[in-house]
Amino acid sequence: MATAPPRDPALPVLSAEDVSLQYKTRERLVTATWRVSFKVYSGDRFVLLGPSGCGKSSLLKSAAGFLEPVEGRIRLNGRDIKRPGPDRMMVFQEFDQLLPWKSVYENVAYPMRVTGRFPRSEIDGRVRAYLDKIGLSRFADVHPHMLSGGMKQRVAIARAMAMEPDVLLMDEPFAALDALTRRTMQAELLRLWEDTRFTVLFVTHSIEEALIIGTRILVLSPHPGQVRAELDASGLGFDSAGTPRFAELQSRIETMLFNRSPTSLAEAHA
């Protein structure tokens, strides 16, 4: 059990400095991101936004400790990230992140068990509470292969959130969820954040979601990903959906991403 080191709130929890990520295979070299820098402070809900293939997942993997930058450095609390650890929980984009040999209940309980982050006696209560939140209590003893795509993602979300990690890395966690479930999950994430003020690094494709979830938004350019902008979105939530600031920020991001005026999009249809 790592006791968290004393933190100076003026220092970033996670900082990327000129991070370039590359995948090398025998036949091909793919640069995922190029010289990306950003700083995530404690309590930030930091959103990565960018077109498909721009390296968002790669950045998240790098922060989780799975991918070493070929250039630059990525640091957690001032120390270079060398390997993954239970202080950073990750929700992956893929559906096969659950352990097929464990039931839904066990999948959620397992990380808590192996890390010993919570006393044994608390685990059962926590698991049941989170299964309830994701609406899968009835499926507690079912194995993942019997779940639908969205149900799998919800279990993965519960697994990560139940751990209450210092840093939560989420890669499009809500993409497979229907509108209602998505809302509920977003609200749940925000409520949990209010309670424990962990740090979130969140990847999404939805600009609306970015604004609701995020306090800071990093907009990336298309492949290979470079920083396009970093925006402030603090103070926006569900109830700001109609407000001018929300709309203004939304259209600003759309312009950035689409690289033309958002209204002209309808032309794509014609």
Partner: protein, 293 residues
């Protein structure tokens, strides 16, 4: 492919309904004909296959009419019954099984250690692939001198030879299974802070279980083969030898039905282990988990 543009779909009214509150719907069963029922029964199909094989044996042997080369199934069964009740077949089989299980267990454990090393370190990886490529093709006789030097004449030597036959097959399959574990699953395990042995047993082993089980099956079969062959070479010490020696003795005595009774014992044990141990294992693990159909 010519597309004639379809006419617009007909206009239809919209409608809304109130879904029924169906809390739990039981199984909806379709009637099956007795034929479907039978062909869907695995045990039944298996018995049919066994009966067909038995009939083929009996007919071929009757047609061949050469008891020395291939006795009839009926003769073999009589011999089997005789060897079981009046003879020592049971005792010898038990002795063999004991040696077999010992060797198998050690072999599997050794494979586990080797593969664990190779899963965690680069040099372990190279070691495994090099050792396997080198030693796996070596016949048991190559090990005889070493076995004799290290363990002398007797059961430990047979165990050693069996370990050799189990180890590489199990290690190879397990290793290949580990290598095929999906990157996402690995990463998931690592975010829980699993490392070393806990990572191997918590993630890699269950994720690679289908490959491991088929390695175990192959290892088991080859342990048998090796045992039978090794018992010929190592023979019987003061006490009676095992099943292999039983087969060899009867072969030399030209008691072919008893030879086949011994082989039939091997076959029957093989079937029993497959359906009791391996199938059960599969049903309660990989099939239940949806990792194999």
């Amino acid at each position: 492919m010519s597309h004639t543009l379809a006419a617009d779909p007909p206009p239809r009214p919209e409608y809304e309904r109130t879904p029924l509150a169906v809390d739990s719907i039981g199984e909806i069963v379709r009637d099956l004909s007795w034929r479907e029922r039978l062909t869907q029964n695995a045990l039944f199909r298996r018995i049919v296959i066994l009966l067909v094989l038995a009939a083929a044996w009996q007919i071929y042997a009757t047609w061949l009419d050469n008891e020395l080369m291939m006795p009839k199934l009926s003769t073999t069964l009589v011999a089997l019954w005789d060897a079981l009740t009046n003879g020592t077949l049971l005792e010898r089989t038990l002795l063999s099984l004991q040696v077999l299980v010992t060797g198998y267990a050690i072999g599997v454990a050794a494979a586990g250690i080797l593969v664990s090393l190779s899963a965690t370190t680069q040099i372990g990886n190279d070691l495994l692939s090099t050792l396997t490529a080198m030693f796996n093709p070596l016949p048991a006789i190559a090990l005889l001198p070493l076995a004799l030097l290290w363990f002398g004449l007797g059961l430990p030597s047979i165990v050693f030879v069996i370990v050799h036959s189990v180890l590489w097959a199990v290690a190879l399959n397990t290793h290949s299974g580990f290598q095929s574990v999906s990157e996402t699953m690995r990463m998931a395990g690592q975010t829980f802070g699993l490392r070393g042995v806990r990572y191997i047993f918590g993630i890699l082993v269950p994720a690679a279980l289908p490959a491991i089980v088929s390695g175990l099956k192959i290892g088991w079969a080859f342990a048998w083969r090796t045992l039978i062959a090794a018992e010929l070479v190592f023979g019987a010490s003061s006490r009676s030898g095992g099943l292999g020696w039983f087969i060899f003795e009867n072969r030399v005595a030209l008691e072919t039905p008893y030879v086949f009774a011994g082989l039939l014992t091997v076959i029957l044990i093989g079937l029993a282990i497959e359906s009791l141990v391996f199938r059960t294992l599969e049903i309660h693990t990989v099939r239940k988990w949806g990792m194999q159909r």
